[in-house]
Every structure is written in structure tokens, then in C-alpha cells.
Symmetry: C2
Subunit: 687 residues, 2 copies
């Protein structure tokens, strides 16, 4: 045993290293693929539209359609668990709730190739959530899912500290400090791997892979200070962030529960607080999700594929045609060495896109954000020293359209993250507010780009409700620490406003999928209940220690419980609870199914002979599950579940006596007994 401990520890560290390298490489692969597909697409389109906009539109749409089709085909046919962002499922997994097939190898493959297709195909979704899932899948191969989540965030945003905090704050409800230390290591490895790859790409070996892909939206040139007058508009951004995300989530909620639809009708103050466009979106998304729910879910795979393709066509059309309708603006006069070029030189990234403009020195502000990869669009929205680049009309058009697309796209059967779309939406209204502030406070040194960043932070804060990790991620992706207090401010406001209405995005999504995540605090009603009340209508099914296989099988088939108390007779013939056996451990000697790999009792076929055997359950059971006395407050039981990440707990009658009372001092006793042996040893050496 003494020999195995360091070996075991080293193995865990090695695994952490491998997870870091693996996730880093996966992220590089996805980024390279997405950037190159997008690069080819835009290069081809821009080349063709010199001759014909119609052919250009056709090629652009076809390219997108092919990519989205490949994505949705892979996902629906080979890896259904790869659809969506995967974060709620991972969160559930780390809280003790398995979702079918969420960590399979083929889910990993589906996620990687699926997100290349869906992001490369220009849908209104991001690759960051899927990267977290990818990291978790890689880590699951080595049994360290938490590390994988952190690695995923670290790789997606090049935010190693943010990754650690994300895993800590968002994903796990319980945490151990030595785990943090290993997660930190994994994130550091990811940072090194990604940096090496980017250095390698800087020499031009990576095709169209340039400034995009790996997110660092450097806003070093922007505003770094703030005056007190600005705090009000910044708080307003926070409030908008809290409000705007509400409708998206309400629609998710409605997806799961019909009643929230009626809620919106009967609860007038909820709608009226959300300002008009919010309420409009609310209705819109409700109808769409309702339609999707009643229509799509019954028709199976092919309809899912058609749906995704239709949305791809819609997205391509809107992003191509809308900028065509917009009149070009003439380029601003810029100083020679400001680094701003207008229009951007031929190529596929840069600000001030010349699209359907009659003259050379013009740019199309809507195309600058719409007819672009999302990464570049955000970079353009964040850009400093570009006052009045966008007209309010363009920004509002984009906001409405992109928001609608994000709502419609969410829920299709492709890998889809909500981070980057959130940043897009947030930075658009942030920049809008910034434009007004620039008009109002003309004397101050105000940057619209900084307001765009704050808008992004507010929207994410309002939807994901992470505080510390989101704050660190925002600081890391903008590479500017001086904005920290401002980001904190908008996050606080937007989370407060959002919390007033509903729960966080991931919690809602988890509920939608039937994953029983526990809130951070018990419900008020639980304070007045005790443990017994929680299992009042329950019939506890006990298994005797030695049972016939056929009896066990019938017990397993006649109910859906996941855990069973095992009872035995004590020395004096009294019955004693000797442990807990889990459903999946019952036949661990015949087969070894883990429910995340997807096998159930019905998949196991036993012969007549086997059914007649007697089985001693003692080797398979958990001999000391956690117990609570029947009159313990349910709120206390709740905390026990959450803090320890439990799945089952036994409610037992009040004990008749106390064998002992353990205090912290008793747990330090070992320390002293160790010291005693050390002292003895050293005495013998001295002697």
C-alpha cells in the first residue's frame, strides 16, 4: 500500500498532463478547421461577388449548408448526445446525475466534427461550450471530468485561471482543494500547448488561421479609466443584460413546462418590466419552441436534419441580404499611424468591410459585423478609436436579427455554445449605449468599444450568472486588467436583475432535460420539513444480504429505484442495515455496465441456471452510506447532499444510544500518533 500511493498520485498527475495536452490539441484542431473553412468561404465569396452578387450568395449559402448538413448528419446519426452545449449535462454528471451517453468516445468525435460544421457553417452559435464538453469527454477517458471542464474553458478562451474558476463555480457543487491544484496544472498545460501551436501558426503554416479563432480580443488601446458620470449608463447596461436574456430562458422553460406560457399571460408585471422588444422576443421564442416541440420531436432524425438545414439557409440569407440593403458609409479620416485601415485590405479579416459599396473609400457597417466570422465581428465591435463606425440603425438591425437567429438556432441538433452568441448580442447593445454616452458626455474620453465589452459581460452575467469566473474570463479574453472594476459592476447588476426573474441558463437547461441539479440553497419550505416528510410516500425496497438472482431481477424490474438498502440479521437475531447497493452494482460480477455508457437491466440476459443461483451481496455493497435521523430538518439534508455531492442517503429512526462523539480534535489524533512513532524512531537513532 505504501508503494502504491505515490504511484497512484503520479498517475493522476500524468493523466492531468494528458488531459491538458489532449484538450489543447482538440481545441487547436477545431480552431484550425473552423478558421480555414470560414476563410475559404469568405475568400471565395468575396472573389465571386466582384462579378456577380447572385452567384456569390449561392456559393456562400451552399458552403454553409454543406457544413451544417455534415454537422447535423454526424450528430443525429452517430452521436445524439453531442447536440447542444453539453455543459448542463456535465454539470449534472459532476453532481451525480448521469445523462445517457454523454461521455462516450463517439460523443467526443461527434462533438469535435459537429462543432466544426456548425460553427464553420456560420450558425448563430459558438464553439466554446462544445469545447468544454470535448475536454470533459477526453478527461472522462482518464476519469477526471472536472479537470477536463477547466481545460476546455482554458482552451476555448485562452483563459487558464478562468477555466479553473469555471470548473469551481459553475460545474461542481462540491470541491476539494487538492483537486483545485491539479485542475490548475491542467489549465497551465493547456495554455502552454495552445501558445506553442499559435507560435507555430504565426509562421503562416496554418492557412487562413490568423488573428481569429483563439479568442483574445485585445482592447489595450481603449478607455482604461472611468468617471463617475459613466457609472449610470454602465449600470443600465447591466440592467439590460439582466432583462434581455430573460426571454431566451423563458422560452427554454416553456420548452419543458407548458405552464410558463400561461404564466406570461397571467403575470402581467413580469412582461411589463421587460421592455418592449424583450416581451416581443418572449412571444416569438415561445411560439417557435412550442412549434418545435409539438412538431419536431415526433418525427425523428430526418426532420432534425431538415430543420438545421433550413436554419442554415435562413442564417445565410439574412447575413448576406441584409447588408446589401444597407447604404455604405464613407471611411472616417484617420491618422496615418493609428493602425486603422478603411476599407480593410483584401483578405478575410479586419475592420471596415467593403461590401456592395459603390465607391472604394466606403465601408458597409452592417456587413462589418454580419458578413464576417463571429470572432472577427466581436473584434470589430470591441475596437477602440473607431467612433461612429456603426450607425444605430445597423446595430439595432443586427441586434434584432442575430438575437432572433440565436433563439431559433438554440435547440437544433448540432453542437452549440451560447457564449459567443451572448457576447455578440451583449456587445451590440453595449456599443449602442456607448454611442449615446459619447453623444451625452462629449468632454469625456469615452470609447464605444469598452461599452461593447461591458455589454457582453452584462449579457453573459445575466444569462449564466457566474460571477467570479466570468469576471476573470472577461478580463483574460480582453487582456486588460484595468477594466476589472467596471466588469465587476455590470456583472453584479445584471446577475441581480436576472436573479429577480429566473435561474441561470445552465440550471434552466438542466431542468429542461430532467437533470435534477440542486440549487445553491434549500427552498424555504424545506426548513419546516424533516427528512421523514421527504420520503413519506415511499415504500423502501430492501434486499436481504443473500438473495436468489431471480428475486433480485424481479425487484430491479418492478421498480425504478437506483439504490437499495441491504439488511441482515445481527447476532441476536435483530435486523441490521448493512449497507447500500446500487442498481448497477447488482450484477457487477456478470457484466459491468456503467449507466453513462448506457446499459440497463433489460439489456442483461440471464440463463435459467443463473437465475436460480444465490448471490451474496456483501462484496458489492457500500457498507457505510450516509445516514440521517428521521427528524433532521430537510434543509440540513439538502446541504449534505449538495456539499458532499451525494446521490442517496438513508433516513433512519432516532438512535437509541451514542457510541461516541467525534470532534475535530479526534481527527487530529492521527497526527500525534504519527509524531509518537517519529519520536520513537529518532530516539532509536539517537540511542
Amino acid at each position: 500500500s505504501k508503494f502504491w500511493v505515490p504511484y497512484y498520485i503520479m498517475l493522476k498527475w500524468l493523466f492531468s498532463l494528458l488531459i491538458g495536452v489532449g484538450t489543447g490539441l482538440a481545441a487547436i484542431f477545431i480552431n484550425l478547421a473552423v478558421e480555414n473553412f470560414s476563410g475559404w468561404k469568405y475568400a471565395a465569396t468575396f472573389a465571386i461577388i466582384k462579378h456577380s452578387y447572385f452567384v456569390g450568395y449561392f456559393v456562400y449559402t451552399l458552403f454553409n449548408l454543406a457544413l451544417v448538413f455534415s454537422s447535423v448528419y454526424i450528430v443525429t446519426n452517430f452521436a445524439p448526445a453531442a447536440a447542444g452545449s453539453g455543459i448542463p449535462e456535465i454539470k449534472g454528471y459532476l453532481n451525480g446525475v448521469d445523462t445517457h451517453g454523454i461521455l462516450l468516445f463517439r460523443t467526443l468525435v461527434g462533438k469535435i466534427f459537429g462543432s466544426i460544421g456548425s460553427v464553420g457553417g456560420g450558425l448563430a452559435l459558438g464553439k466554446e461550450g462544445p469545447l468544454v464538453h470535448t475536454g470533459a469527454c477526453i478527461a472522462s477517458l482518464l476519469g477526471q471530468v472536472t479537470c477536463g471542464c477547466a481545460a476546455g474553458v482554458a482552451a476555448a478562451f485562452r483563459a487558464p485561471v478562468g477555466g479553473v474558476l469555471f470548473a469551481l463555480e459553475e460545474v461542481t457543487s462540491w470541491w476539494r482543494s487538492h483537486l483545485m491544484w491539479r485542475v490548475f496544472f491542467t489549465s497551465a498545460v493547456v495554455a502552454v500547448v495552445v501558445r506553442s501551436a499559435m507560435n507555430w501558426c504565426n509562421s503562416g503554416k496554418c492557412g487562413h488561421f490568423g488573428a481569429g479563432g483563439f479568442i483574445i480580443w485585445d482592447i489595450s488601446g481603449g478607455q482604461e479609466d472611468y468617471s463617475y458620470q459613466e457609472l449610470l449608463p454602465m449600470a443600465i447596461i447591466g440592467v439590460i443584460g439582466g432583462l434581455l436574456e430573460t426571454p431566451i430562458e423563458s422560452s427554454f422553460l416553456a420548452y419543458g413546462k407548458q405552464c410558463s406560457l400561461s404564466d406570461a399571460h397571467t403575470n402581467p408585471e413580469k412582461v411589463s418590466i421587460g421592455f418592449t422588444p424583450g416581451a416581443l422576443f418572449n412571444q416569438l421564442t415561445l411560439y417557435i419552441t412550442k412549434w418545435r416541440r409539438t412538431y419536431l420531436h415526433k418525427k425523428g432524425r430526418r426532420v432534425k436534419i431538415i430543420e438545421a438545414c433550413l436554419i442554415s439557409l435562413l442564417t445565410s440569407t439574412i447575413s448576406f441580404v441584409l447588408p446589401l440593403l444597407r447604404k455604405c458609409s464613407s471611411c472616417p479620416e484617420v491618422e496615418a499611424n493609428s493602425g486603422i485601415e478603411c476599407p480593410r485590405p483584401p483578405g478575410t479579416d479586419g475592420n471596415f468591410v467593403n461590401f456592395y459599396c459603390s465607391r472604394d473609400k466606403e465601408y458597409n457597417d452592417l456587413a462589418t459585423i454580419f458578413f464576417n466570422t463571429q470572432d472577427d465581428a466581436i473584434r470589430n465591435l470591441f475596437s477602440a478609436k473607431t467612433f461612429h463606425e456603426y450607425s444605430a440603425k445597423s446595430l439595432i438591425t443586427f441586434l434584432v436579427m442575430f438575437y432572433s437567429l440565436a433563439v431559433v438556432t438554440f435547440g437544433t441538433a448540432v453542437p452549440a455554445g451560447q457564449f459567443v452568441p451572448g457576447i455578440m448580442i451583449g456587445s451590440t447593445y453595449g456599443r449602442l449605449v456607448g454611442m449615446f454616452v459619447v453623444k451625452f458626455y462629449k468632454k469625456l474620453n469615452i470609447e464605444e468599444g469598452t461599452y461593447a465589452l461591458l455589454g457582453a459581460a452584462s449579457f453573459l452575467g445575466g444569462s449564466m450568472r457566474m460571477t467570479v469566473s466570468l469576471c476573470v474570463i472577461m478580463v483574460e479574453i480582453t487582456n486588460n486588467l484595468k477594466l476589472l472594476p467596471l466588469i465587476m459592476l455590470v456583472l453584479l447588476v445584471s446577475k441581480a436583475v436576472g436573479d429577480f426573474f429566473n435561474e441561470g441558463l445552465y440550471e434552466e437547461q438542466a431542468r429542461l432535460r430532467g437533470i435534477p441539479l440542486l440549487d445553491s440553497r434549500p427552498k424555504q419550505i424545506m426548513r419546516n420539513m424533516n427528512a421523514k416528510d421527504a420520503c413519506k410516500n415511499q415504500k423502501v425496497v430492501c434486499l436481504p444480504r443473500v438473495s436468489r438472482v431471480v428475486d433480485i431481477v424481479s425487484v430491479l424490474q418492478t421498480n425504478k429505484h437506483n439504490g437499495f438498502p441491504v439488511v441482515d440479521r445481527g447476532q441476536n437475531g435483530e435486523s441490521l442495515v448493512i449497507g447500500l447497493i446500487l442498481r448497477r452494482h447488482n450484477f457487477s460480477d456478470f457484466v459491468k455496465p456503467a449507466s453513462s455508457k448506457g446499459k440497463s437491466i433489460d439489456d442483461i440476459h440471464l440463463t435459467e441456471d443463473e437465475l436460480g443461483l444465490y448471490l451474496d451481496l456483501a462484496p458489492f455493497l457500500n457498507p457505510s452510506p450516509y445516514i440521517v435521523p428521521e427528524d433532521m430538518s430537510l434543509a440540513k439534508v439538502y446541504n449534505l447532499f449538495r456539499q458532499l455531492g451525494l446521490r442517496h442517503i438513508f433516513v433512519v429512526p432516532r438512535p437509541s444510544r451514542v457510541v461516541g462523539l467525534i470532534t475535530r480534535k479526534d481527527l487530529l489524533l492521527e497526527e500525534d500518533s504519527n509524531t509518537v512513532t517519529t519520536e520513537l524512531q529518532s530516539t532509536s537513532v539517537r540511542g
Copy 2:
């Protein structure tokens, strides 16, 4: 009840706000005072040494002595609990262990004025640890100690996110996410308060308060990239950090337990791995702490005061006389607009100190770091574009002397933080390594200042063993995100090396003071023990539900247990454990002592009549303490303690039957029943 919940929540948020404002103001007050005292001191000294170095030395020493005397006098006479950093005690408090008087109001006052004296008096200690304690004291007045810790760190380092993480990682063993959210708010408030104060001071109203005090050692001009060759010297810095701190801590250990002295003798590999100066320091500190322990602890207050004064004299003499012995160097040739001035213009802060130099265009490199406030010294060590500013000889002299002073100063009866001394030591050897690297890799763009920063990170990582929070704090105080991967690297190495030898600084200090902090993971031996083993030699003292006061008093006086099971008879006459009563709750109807405010059973005087009364304990007991079955693995019990922050647990016999089995789904039930009522309501409205 429905009315009180929002009221209660608002009150908590208001308290968080007040804590933030209070801690921010306290930090500003301490900083202003320290900076002004130091400013006057150095201004006076520099003015006088133009005429006479002897008189200058005399005034300098006297000034320091007066400040240190005031500090030690306040602490020993009015607030003994204010000595030291206070972080181990706070950590203990948040883990359920009270230290006598640690959160009293007078401790707060003693801490504030004590640390002004000790830091202003130029001792080799910092004000950051005491500020954390100050924050906790302020917060304790409002019952939110965790928020106070975070606020303290946020104020001390101007690192709001670092503060949140510090509270999370270092201070509490358990954590709830809604607490994080409030802690985040408090930190944000502190950041705003501190920033406002600094803005106000920028107009020159704060006397000598300038760039110093509030730590931001901006290293924006420095090296932002690294080549792979540099990873080796950086890893070496990490190793040094892990090794160098070892001797300090060993001395602390020896302070508490004699046996570690013999350990150092009989355990040759431990000493030989630590390189020579480390081993030397080890012996040195061992003798000093031994002397202090056998001599000082018996003589009381006056000796403590004399000790602190002697150390002040020693510190003043070393920091004044050693630079005198050093030959001045001539100023480097600098470009006109590089912002470097040599020697610094008359004033009290800046680089390139002209001290005892014969010519005008010269500076004294040892005085630049030694004859300066610590904040300025660190700023000078971190400074970029100042190649070859320090000679290796000066740095080594300073390292040896300051390290010795830090060791000697630690343990005196003044408020003392270890953060800034750690940064001083770390940045000195970091800069030393940087100098060698500059020599070796002449072609690379290497900054000695960046290596100094890495050295600081490595020393703190080696001594405090925090990973994520320290990393964020280092990034926040240097205001440069690009160094993040490098800081992560050295932290990982130094923590790994340090962990190989011993525990973190705070853990060791806590053990020294008899605070039973639990490690992050159970001891290996606990896996083979069960709960019953841990309380084998225990005689459980039960109290009947209704007892005579005289019996209770005799139970309380005859043993030192802190909690007692209360038993009663059930309906059928069988005995039932009905709860746990704590020592301090036994007489809560007569008096209301809280042990942190320091009252014990002997302080309570009861009359004969009162002693004869019968007391029903039922209203005072905790009716459902946590219970574990007697055969539960002790490792599991350990985790329960740590994750829930428990102080007592009952070990009970195996249950004879299971009343029910609670799963996560059962805990979500409330949700559904709520939904049902909502639906009913909305139906009625619709109807």
C-alpha cells in the same frame, strides 16, 4: 415569515456593503498613516544626513523605535490577540475553532494602530496580513467573517478578484455559491472605495502618500514574452522558492514541538536537500526561536516590549549602516525619455537612491532596496529597463540580512504580515537569477524585473501554497496579464517542492497555536479505521433531558467536552438520543456567553436556589446533529467534517431499519409542488 425573508436578505447585502466600506476606509487610514510616518522619517533623515550621518542615524533609529514601541505597547497592554498576522486564527474560526478574543473590537483597534506602528517603524513585516484580520474584525461586528477576509485582501493588494479567491481557497474549507456572490460584491465595494480615496489623494491632500502604500507594482514596461530557454531558469526560481521558505517554517514548527529540532538532526536528507544557506538559516532560526521560547514566554509583557524594541534597533542599524559600507555606482546612461532618473530627484520615493555617495551622478544600490520603505524597495526590484542596477553582492547581502531579520521579527508581539517580506525575499533572489540569465542568454529580451516578480511568486507559493488565488493576486498587483503563464509555472513548481517538505505557512502556524485545522485530505491511516475507532477511549457523557442545574454544573466542571448528547425516554420506555447540547448553550437562559468573547463555566456564579432548579434542556439543544454509523470509514467521516465545517458528530450503532431513502429527485419534489400551486392559481385567474 414571507415578509422577513426579503428583509433578511437586504440586511445581509447592506452588511456586505458596510463591511466593504469599513474595510476600505480602514485600509486607507492605515496606508495614509504608514506612508506619512515613513515619509516624514525619510525626509527628515535625508535632510539631516546632509550635515551629519551620525545624527541622521540617531534620528532615524529613534523614529523607528518610537513607532515600534507604540505598536508593541498597544498590543501587549490592550489587545494581545492583535499580535501576528491573524490569518491562521481567522482560518481556524471559519473552520469552527474559536481563538480567545480574536474578533473583539479592541483587537480591531489594536490591529489598526499596532500595524501602523510596526510597519511605519520599518520592521521586516507587512501590513497585508493584519489588514485581512482587520477586515474580519469589522465583518465580525456584522456577523460575516468570510466577507471581511476577502475585503481585507481586496483592500491590501487592490486585488478584488484575488480577495474573493483568497477567502475561497485559503480561508474556508466549505463554501456556498450564494456566499461567493456576496463576497464578490464586498470586494467590488472595497475596490471602488479605495480607488475614490486614491483619486482624492492624487490632488496632493494626503501629505507624503504617493505611489506607495496601496500596492500596484506596475510592470507594464517589462518583458511580456518568453522563449523556451527561459523555462529552465524560471523553474529554478520555483525550486528555490520551495526550498527557501522551508527553514522559516521549520522554525515555526520547532516553536511548537521540540521534536522537529531533533528531526533536523536525525533526518540528514532533509537538511542536505536544502542548499547551504537554507540549512544555515534553518539552524539560526531554530536557535533564536528556542531562546525566545524558553526565555521570553515566562517573563511576560515587559520582555516582549524590550524584545520588539531591540529588534527595531537591530533593523534600523542594519538598514542604515550596511548601505554606508557599500561603494556607490555611477549612474547608467539612459535615454532622455525613458522615464528613469538617476539619482532620484529629492523626495522620498523613486529608484537610484543617492546615499553616502561622493559624487552627484552616483547611486547606492544597497540603499535603493534597504534604506527605503518596503513598497518602494519592491517597486525598485521589479523595475524594468534597469539592467545591472544592482550588483550581485548587494542583492546577496540584502537577501541574507533581510531574511534573517524576517525570521527574527516573526513572532514578536506586534501585528505582522508575511506577504510583503515574502515578496521582498523572493524578488531579491528572482532578480539575482535574472541577472545570471541576462548574462547567459545575451540575445534574448530579458528583464531582470520580470524575474524578480517570478521570484516573489515562487516564494509566496512555496510558503503559502495557495495556487489560484495567489496567481490572481500576483497578476492583479502587477497589472500585467501577459505574465500569467509564467506565474502559473513558478507557482506550480514552488508549491510542489514545498509540499515535498512540509505544510503551508498558515497550516503550520495554526498547528503551532493549537488550532485544529483539518488538512484538505484525510490521512492514509484513516482509510483503515472506522468511526468507532476514533472514539474508542472515550467515555460519552450524556445528559438527561430534564436535569438539576447542580448536576449540569458538575458535569461541565468535571470534563472539558464541548458537546453532550441529550437522552430521553421514548413512548415504550426505550432510551432515545434527542439531540446535542453545547457547553455554551447550557446556561443560555441565565447568561449568553459566546466563547470568542471569552467566558467559561467558572465565570458564571449561581446561587444555591438556582442550583437546585430543574432545567428542561429541550429548548436549547440541537435536535438533529449529524450522525454516522459506527462502522463508517474514518476517511469518510473526515470529509464530512471538512465539507460541512462541523465541530461535532455522533457515532451511533448500525440502524436496525431504514425509514426511507432520499435521492436528489426527492429534494426537487418541492419544486413540483410549487408548480402545482402556480398552475392552480393561474387556472383560477383564467377561469
